[in-house]
């Protein structure tokens, strides 16, 4: 089925990105509202696409329709998984854009900020919608390039250093991806993911070793982008140096779209899931989960602490996916597989919301006090009650305390691990959850209680900052409702079904 609205997810932010510097010449104020409105439109579009009944929709760019069922043009494909990713990307982008209206005033060169922000959004939407390997790579580069520039936006020493580190590692990751894509094109003579999956499943590629070689390069490339533990060196620097709305975008959606989404799409929908790869995922996830949380405990820079937790929480998601793939590959009970994937995706969207909220809260504290060092805060509860309330909600959500969304998803991952027979991984998940709670109690204790470490008056942040914080906090609570199956049917189940049918993706998406 063809759907014309898909192209707007890419064209609108691109259009905005390149017209904003001109608008900025006239009025910088107007610019920030335009970005907020555009991301609002995209958010509404992505929500409405959830209610689109068709399972998957294709947009053929430029009308180059397939010839004799061989795709020759660029296809944008939207299925259950893409819809879910579009939803979280555009929702978080909207709240970050609103947050930025007040926050970004302290930087110079506002107009370039919004240009880069829109480019990043366009790149992320493009990655999610890309139907062929090369466009996946190109959009990945668009999103990464914008992220590199945004990390260095403050042009202080540490920011430029972090950005350089991010660029070298990110550039290497992209080249690994390109190398793997080259290998895959060599073997299958096609770039379209659905077609490639079909070619691979027909057994036309005889050399299994070459395929495994390409897959390992893909894992290394995407692993760097997703900051799995052996490849994580850039993340804490980059995420803590960026302006806060950008940190929220980076931690909230960029590592998910460029990392988890690409892995899911390639290793479940394009290649057959197999046990070796699933073990690689689960082990990478387990290591990231554990090491990330221990690194976080020692951090005193608030944003750095949050960044380490991103590694740890992404570890949960990776482990969940690894377990799910393992059971899927060994033809285990499909109910357990469905539960594992649901849990992993649920935790992923939860993480987008509460980590976005935490970074925005950190931004609100930074906006008021001018510092992100926990030792320089203290006693903020009296001056910033709203920020305290929202960051408390987010902390409890990430630590997995019952009424908040994080509890249900973490609990589901642990239950799924036990059902799949991976008791060690389940125990690890439980222990990491407790340490996470400890480290967030430290954040609450040093930031909001105790004696103030500063000697100037503090004001609560302005309206737009408050608006984003409160809306995300409400979302944190509201997303707990996803445990009810009638709501889950709309949001999560299509994505899980996309994963469950594995290479069935190919047959559905070849006829536009």
């Amino acid at each position: 089925m063809e759907d014309k609205t898909l192209i707007f997810f890419i064209v609108l932010p691109f259009l905005a990105a390149f017209s904003l510097p001109l608008i900025g010449l006239v009025s910088e104020k107007a610019e920030s509202y335009i970005v907020a409105i555009i991301s609002l439109i995209l958010m509404v579009l992505s929500v409405s696409s959830l209610f689109n009944l068709a399972e998957s929709t294709v947009y053929v760019v430029g009308g180059w329709y397939p010839v004799e069922k061989i795709p020759i043009g660029i296809h944008l494909v939207s299925d259950g998984l893409s819809k879910l990713m579009l939803l979280i990307v555009n929702t978080l982008a909207f709240f970050c854009a609103v947050f930025a209206i007040d926050y970004i005033k302290k930087y110079t060169g506002q107009k370039y900020f919004y240009t880069l922000f829109c480019l990043q959004l366009a790149g992320l939407n493009g990655v999610v919608l890309a139907g062929d390997m090369f466009n996946l790579f190109v959009f990945m580069e668009v999103a990464s390039k914008a992220s590199y520039a945004l990390v260095a936006f403050g042009v202080r020493r540490t920011e430029i250093e972090a950005s350089f580190k991010y660029q070298v590692l990110g550039g290497l990751a992209s080249l690994f991806m390109l190398f793997a894509i080259t290998m895959l094109y060599w073997m299958t003579s096609t770039l379209n993911m659905a077609d490639m999956s079909l070619v691979l499943s027909k057994g036309l590629v005889e050399n299994g070793n070459a395929l495994r070689f390409a897959q390992l390069f893909l894992i290394a490339g995407v692993g760097i982008k997703a900051a799995m533990i052996p490849f994580h060196a850039w993340l804490p620097d980059a995420h803590s140096s960026a302006p806060s709305p950008v940190s929220a975008m980076l931690s909230g959606v960029v590592i998910k779209v460029l990392g988890i989404y690409v892995l899911l799409r390639l290793f479940i929908n394009v290649f057959e899931p197999d046990i070796f790869i699933s073990n690689v995922f689960a082990v990478l996830g387990g290591i990231s989960m554990t090491a990330g949380v221990f690194l976080a405990i020692g951090a005193w820079d608030l944003k750095r602490l949050l960044a380490y937790h991103s590694i740890s929480q992404m570890g949960y998601v990776m482990m969940g996916i690894g377990i799910g793939m393992g059971i899927l590959a060994s033809a285990g009970p499909s109910a357990t597989v469905a539960l594992t994937f649901t849990a992993a995706l649920f935790h992923m969207i939860n993480h987008a919301v509460f980590k976005g909220l935490l970074f925005l809260s950190a931004g609100s504290i930074e906006h008021a006090t001018g510092t992100v060092n926990l030792k320089g805060m203290g006693g903020l509860a009296k001056y910033m009650p709203l920020t305290m309330a929202t960051s408390f909600v987010a902390s409890m959500a990430i630590a997995g305390i019952p009424p908040f969304n994080g509890f249900f998803s973490k609990f589901a991952i642990i239950v799924a691990a036990i059902q799949g027979g991976y008791h060690f991984r389940a125990a690890l998940g439980f222990i990491v959850g407790i340490i996470t709670l400890a480290s967030f109690l430290k954040f609450q204790r040093y930031a909001f209680f105790g004696k103030p470490q500063y000697d100037f008056s503090i004001k609560e942040s302005p309206f737009f900052i408050k608006f984003s914080l409160v809306s995300l906090a409400v979302l944190c609570l509201a997303m707990s409702l996803l445990i009810f199956s009638s709501i889950r049917e709309i949001v999560l189940d299509p994505a899980v079904n996309t994963l469950l049918e594995t290479t069935g993706y190919a047959i559905k998406n070849l006829q536009p």
């Binding site: 190109v138 520039a149 250093e161 660029q167 070298v168 080259t182 060599w186």
Partner: protein
């Protein structure tokens, strides 16, 4: 086959340079070497021995003559544009780093601990 192996060696040389060099300009150059090796590889997999350029309108020529695969060539062109952006960004950052720290040595530029 030799050509592919040489190409892969070039790839490894680039990664080796990236890992061992301390000078950030040399790191940028190493990254470029990796890029170039992949572009070469892309061009090579699209090449057919004795093939002509894929700009042919005459069906008769198409029937008798092998034509090289144009898709990798377009991919390389796109990738070169991306590489241009990568390199210019990296070099801009290198200049800014030099202005801030007064050195190109990566060991002296390490305020952040990773």
């Amino acid at each position: 086959m030799t050509l592919y192996i040489l190409c892969f060696i070039l790839f490894l040389v680039g990664i080796y340079g990236l890992v061992i060099s301390r000078n950030i300009i040399k790191m940028v150059i190493s990254l470029t070497i990796v890029e170039i090796s992949i572009f070469l590889m892309l061009i090579m997999i699209g090449y057919i021995s004795g093939g002509i350029a894929p700009v042919v309108f005459d069906q008769q020529i198409l029937d008798n003559q092998a034509v090289v695969d144009p898709l990798p060539q377009t991919m390389v062109l796109t990738a070169i544009v991306i590489a241009l952006a990568t390199n210019s960004m990296l070099l801009t950052m290198a200049i800014r780093l030099y202005k801030k720290y007064g050195t190109f040595d990566i060991h002296e530029i390490s305020k952040l601990k990773g």
